[in-house]
């Protein structure tokens, strides 16, 4: 069955790869884009025009650290003018009161602030940026003072998942509306550091229990988003809500991707917004067409009644684990490769003496 192509709902605008932090799980590619390859302000303004025309409703300004660019205010203002809802995904360490005010005056609607741990000791160690955690606490307070909604994002792994209870308490204390507890996605730097990041099954079960307890206690006060990591799951996630169905991602060099890790998939060809219109790329780009809908699916997905629920899971993960980008996501129990996913989880989740490697340019 061919699924009709709908216009995208949201755009992830990765305006830079530069970032003062060095998280070992960063989902940016190992080959980071240099500043000299970044798109100009003018090009980004055009992209926002095209995005709104195409039917996009929300823009997430992201990176790297988007606030390293000094034209962010201009971009937010333009998004607002075009009726786009703008969200800032930030590590927060470069934000002060006057910057925050200028974002809000320009129309920023929401901030997603990352933390790397529940306290300075863990947070600064993981982020590789001394003083970062304290800075984040101050920024959260500034955000609360101006009444802007705040989502706290904590990426968890072996070294900080034991802090989950403290992380939830921190989210409450910082008046976050939402807490996103995201398990590391193992591509980019995360894939590179996987054996030094994967949590153990026991760690996960404990964390899941803490989250469930907190959810009951905090109903109506704090929304906690928490997803079991793929390496311990039985069914895959509907990655990006389905390939080429809702989201598009523009990377710092202007390539339009179906998801932020799509460049890790061998054999795909991506197109640049500077060469073609966003609309043409969305509707006809070969990378978007490659896994859109259900026609490309192999067994067991092709005959499965969940194929329009999870869309066969994550393509990047299928490529990384099986070497075949069009394989059923090995996170799925029905995948013939599910066993190898399990053994990776078992073998690599053992505490190792090795140190992870910080992300570097």
């Amino acid at each position: 069955m061919t699924v009709s192509i709908e216009p995208p709902l949201a755009m992830l605008a990765e305006i830079t790869h530069r970032c003062p932090l060095r998280c070992p799980y960063c989902s940016n590619p190992l080959e980071l884009s240099k500043r000299s390859h970044e798109l100009s302000t003018k090009v980004w303004l055009n992209i926002l025009d095209e995005a709104s025309e195409l039917g996009i409703l929300q823009v997430h300004f992201s990176g790297g650290e988007p606030t390293v660019r000094d034209d962010l205010t201009v971009l937010i203002k333009h998004a607002e003018k075009k009726g786009l809802y703008s969200n800032l995904i930030t590590s927060g360490v470069l934000i002060d009161k006057s910057k925050l005010d200028s974002f809000i005056d320009s129309g920023l609607q929401h901030i997603q602030l990352s933390i790397q741990g529940a306290d300075s000791e863990v947070g600064d160690y993981i982020g590789g940026f001394p003083g970062g955690h304290q800075k984040k606490l101050e920024v959260a307070q500034l955000i609360h003072d101006v009444d802007l909604p705040l989502t706290l994002n904590a990426v968890v792994h072996r070294h900080n998942i034991g802090q989950i209870k403290k992380i939830i308490n921190l989210a409450e204390k910082l008046h976050a509306q939402r807490l996103e507890v995201a398990n590391v996605q193992y591509y980019g730097w995360g894939f590179f550091n996987r054996k030094n990041l994967l949590p153990t099954r026991e760690q996960l079960m404990e964390a899941t229990e803490e989250v469930n307890k907190a959810r009951d206690r905090l109903k109506g006060k704090l929304v906690i988003d928490y997803v079991v990591p793929d390496y311990y799951a039985r069914r895959p996630k509907a990655c990006m809500g389905g390939w080429g169905r809702r989201f598009l991602n523009i990377n710092p060099a202007g390539y339009v991707l179906p998801c932020h890790a799509a460049e890790t998939i061998p054999g795909l060809r991506f197109e640049r917004v500077t060469d073609k219109s966003l609309s043409e790329i969305w509707y006809h780009g070969s990378a978007f067409e490659a896994f859109r809908g259900t026609d490309w699916m192999p067994a067991p997905c092709s005959t499965c009644d969940r194929k329009e629920i999870d869309w066969g899971g994550c393509r990047c993960q299928a490529a990384a684990i099986t070497g075949r980008p069009d394989a059923t996501d090995p996170a799925c129990e029905l995948s013939p490769d599910h066993g190898s996913m399990n053994s990776i989880a078992q073998n690599e989740s053992k505490p190792s003496q090795e140190q992870f490697q910080y992300r570097r340019m």
Binding site: P7, L9, L54, G55, L57, Q58, G83, Y85, N87, Q109, H110, Q112, D147, L148, P149, T151, H175, Q177, R178, K219, G220, K221, L222, V223
Partner: protein, 96 residues
């Protein structure tokens, strides 16, 4: 969001908090609520209820005006309207 759960009783005046927007999506020709990292498509009843959220009317008054608008007895719609407002409040889309 407030530190305690908001309960949508008669005298509460619901408002859209910062970061929540009611918008007509021209491309898809439908009303949507845009909120932090989520969006909801509203059905016809939802649109009517949300359009009554003006930062001045309390729940009682919202029910009154909807009852007029739909020529339906107050008691008949009361529960549905309150339930919808409560649901939106729990999702963080309405404040008081």
């Amino acid at each position: 969001m407030a530190k305690t759960r908001i309960i949508m009783t008669e005298k509460v005046v619901p408002v859209f908090p910062k970061g929540v927007r009611l918008k007509f999506d021209k491309k898809r020709k439908q009303w949507v609520v845009l909120a932090p990292e989520r969006m909801f498509v509203l059905d016809e009843i939802g649109i009517s209820v949300m359009h009554c959220v003006d930062g001045k009317s309390n729940v009682d008054e919202i029910v009154d005006s909807l009852s007029k608008q739909f020529k339906a007895p107050r008691e008949e719609i009361l529960d549905d309207v309150v339930e919808m407002l409560q649901d939106m409040a729990d999702k963080g889309v309405l404040d008081e």
